[in-house]
Symmetry: C2
């Protein structure tokens, strides 16, 4: 299948963009792709009112937690987890996770996201949702000794299934955190990630409490120092949050080639703290962006997350030049794709054909002095007309397939969970 | 004219809501308003898929600055003002302000706002835009000695025109700030506000620089102490920003009954500082919410502003319980209306009929555990289906009258300004 995006705004000019299969084949000035280059049956899309932009890569979430959206807000982390989230999660089953994941994917597509990294339970339900709805996902096999005891099953699952899915979907090894996974299990997680060439994704230094409390059992080491002393940190490690970092922590993360996922909405809403954007970016660490789960955000909107990240970095550093629009846009697109080893994140020949079409007639993109600035600071999801993932439209004209059914299934799953918990 | 909102979600139940003229006449359980109570010719609107919510009151903005959206970002305040904003503003004329104000009003309506308080130039152009587009405005007669010398004309204008407009539109006296308006002129501003019973709106303690520098010429007084010592602060005073407040400042503002307008996006983007939400709200001061101008935000979206305010308050105080959703929602609605003396901000019998209809089928309001939380933390303007102001629809089904023409006029005005400045 091939698609020609005709006369689309691309960076600061106009272009025709030919997509063949799942990649960008040719990008040229309007009219400059010759008829001979355009395969028979190519769909021609008039894009004169649109700009093409890289889509978003949501580098840390818990997709099915959309079901818990708004169920318990404005609470401290541990009260929130133990009083609300964990009891509700006990009642989860594959059907609910499937419904919640579909709702999450619907929301992500609507706001321009084509990939999510998911750390949760009932992974096969999430994988099924991502496969069916046509977007990319790295789905975690989640380890957490305190909460569930399925480590051996997890290892079996990884070995049996790590190559079972479409090229859009991968597994990753996801030990939850240093406070829920012991040293031995962490070691085994790192080993199997190495063996099967998978990413290792974890929560790291999210709260002051984690950063301080973990120093006692680890002989005074910070979570970063501790994991590094055990050889866990490598270029395949992707650390979510990374709020409470010392200068030494930052130099270790850079040294080991670890990628970091900044989740500003969650960190602010749970009052976990302010990410040291200036220091971490200044060190040259790859920083991606994530929404975290809908229970602590409460949406999965990467556009909003970009604005939050930029604004938080400025007020935290006291410097309005910190984290300009172009930089935070890169975090939400290219850096997320790179961290998860996806050959995408830019509109460029040869790259995987992921993109969004943004409506230039949307009033928030007017007068249009700077498209990236308008997109980061001014627009919202209303400006997203269409979304392409892997060379296919997953949204057109603001419509996603089966929207109504996805929403009513999510409602049903939620009322089942809620009535079970009464 | 009368309108019946039929079977609409209102708070935690369903209701029929009868609007007569410009006020809510009756709110009752569905079917409980008798046929005799419903005037002939009443328009019946099926609202079974909608929730009704109070609309937003944007308590501080510079509407026409939409024309400068994205023109200069990620810069320190003074560099931004003197290098970019002031030179562009020199080329402004009434036609450009009219075009920029209409663009701003379009954007505000689309995101559920029915009122704005405007401090800018060419006020008659902004008044005309608000009158034509059907929303409410308090439009400033702006005083700033450093920038322009039209104080005498301003006083004449106030006396001549303060009662000229529809009940939706008022004038206010707006001395820009303590660093642009001297003591004598400030005194005269306060006097005429008193004489004509108008609001007095100003920027106050926005930056650390303002808070520190003003101490020398005022004999060591903070901006708040200084204005109070001159008798300027009264219940008709509305202070925008109020970021750098001492405990003494806070007790003075409370004592004098001053209303404060919090503008989180602008304060973060310009790195002005973090508003002391916990202390100011704890003191019992009325706090409204404002977007500031599009040049420092870069949108006029009060929904986004609510989320920013709540998140900033939590991370700043280190306490996730600070500024819960219900409270920040009140700031953006009821408190803004009250500060400007508008008998609205709640869906209640007898109040002015301002409201929005929110689409409950929008995926971000699913599963729907808590409508206010979903609205504050999760939704975006895509969920706003219709907007009512003063008993009239100013948006229906996502459409505002003349959208395309408003956008093309704004583009034209901007290119004229830009080419004049080259």
């Amino acid at each position: 299948m091939s698609i020609l995006l005709k006369d689309v705004r691309h960076k600061n000019s106009r272009a025709d963009i030919l997509i063949e299969g799942n990649r960008f084949k040719r990008i040229a000035l309007p009219g400059k792709i010759s008829a001979a280059e355009i395969p028979q049956g190519t769909e021609i899309v008039d894009c004169s009112h649109f700009a093409v932009l890289p889509a978003f890569y949501n580098a840390h979430t818990h997709a099915a937690m959309t079901l818990f959206r708004g169920a318990a807000d404005d609470l401290p982390l541990m009260k929130w987890l133990s009083g609300w989230i964990w009891p509700m999660e006990k009642r989860l089953d594959a059907e609910a996770v499937y419904a919640g994941s579909r709702l999450a994917i619907l929301e992500m597509i609507k706001s321009g996201t084509v990939f999510f990294s998911d750390m949760y339970w009932f992974r096969e339900a999430t994988i099924r949702a991502a496969e069916e709805m046509g977007i990319r996902a790295t789905v975690g096999v989640t380890f957490a000794e305190g909460l569930v005891d399925d480590s051996e099953l997890n290892f079996e699952f990884l070995r049996a299934h790590y190559r079972d899915y479409s090229p859009r979907v991968n597994l990753a090894v996801m030990p939850h955190s240093v406070y829920t996974v012991g040293e031995k299990l962490f070691r085994r997680c790192a080993d199997i990630a190495e063996e099967l060439d998978l990413k290792l994704h974890l929560h790291l230094s999210e709260t002051a409490d984690e950063a301080i409390r973990s120093r006692t059992p680890t002989g005074g080491k910070s979570p970063v120092e501790y994991l590094d002393s055990r050889g866990i940190l490598t270029p395949r490690t992707i650390a979510a949050h990374a709020v409470h970092l010392s200068d030494l922590d930052i130099s270790i993360l850079r040294e080991r080639g670890v990628s970091v996922v900044h989740c500003p909405a969650s960190n602010m809403k749970l009052a976990s703290g302010s990410f040291r954007a200036q220091a971490v970016l200044g060190a040259g660490i790859r920083v991606a962006l994530g929404t975290d789960g809908a229970a602590s955000n409460n949406n999965l909107d990467m556009r909003e997350e970009m604005k939050l990240a930029a604004l938080l970095a400025k007020v935290t550093s006291g410097n309005p030049e910190t984290l300009p629009a172009s930089k935070v846009f890169e975090m939400a697109t290219k850096n997320g794709a790179e961290a998860y080893g996806i050959d995408a994140g830019e509109i460029a020949e040869g790259k995987l054909a992921d993109a969004i079409l943004v409506d230039l007639e949307n009033e928030r993109l007017v007068p249009g002095s700077n498209l990236i600035s308008d997109w980061v600071y001014s627009a919202d999801s209303r400006a997203v007309d269409s979304v392409l993932c892997d060379g296919n439209f997953v949204m057109r004209g603001g419509r996603v397939e089966n929207e109504e059914e996805i929403i009513s299934s999510a409602r049903k799953a939620f009322s089942r969970l809620r009535s079970a918990s009464l």
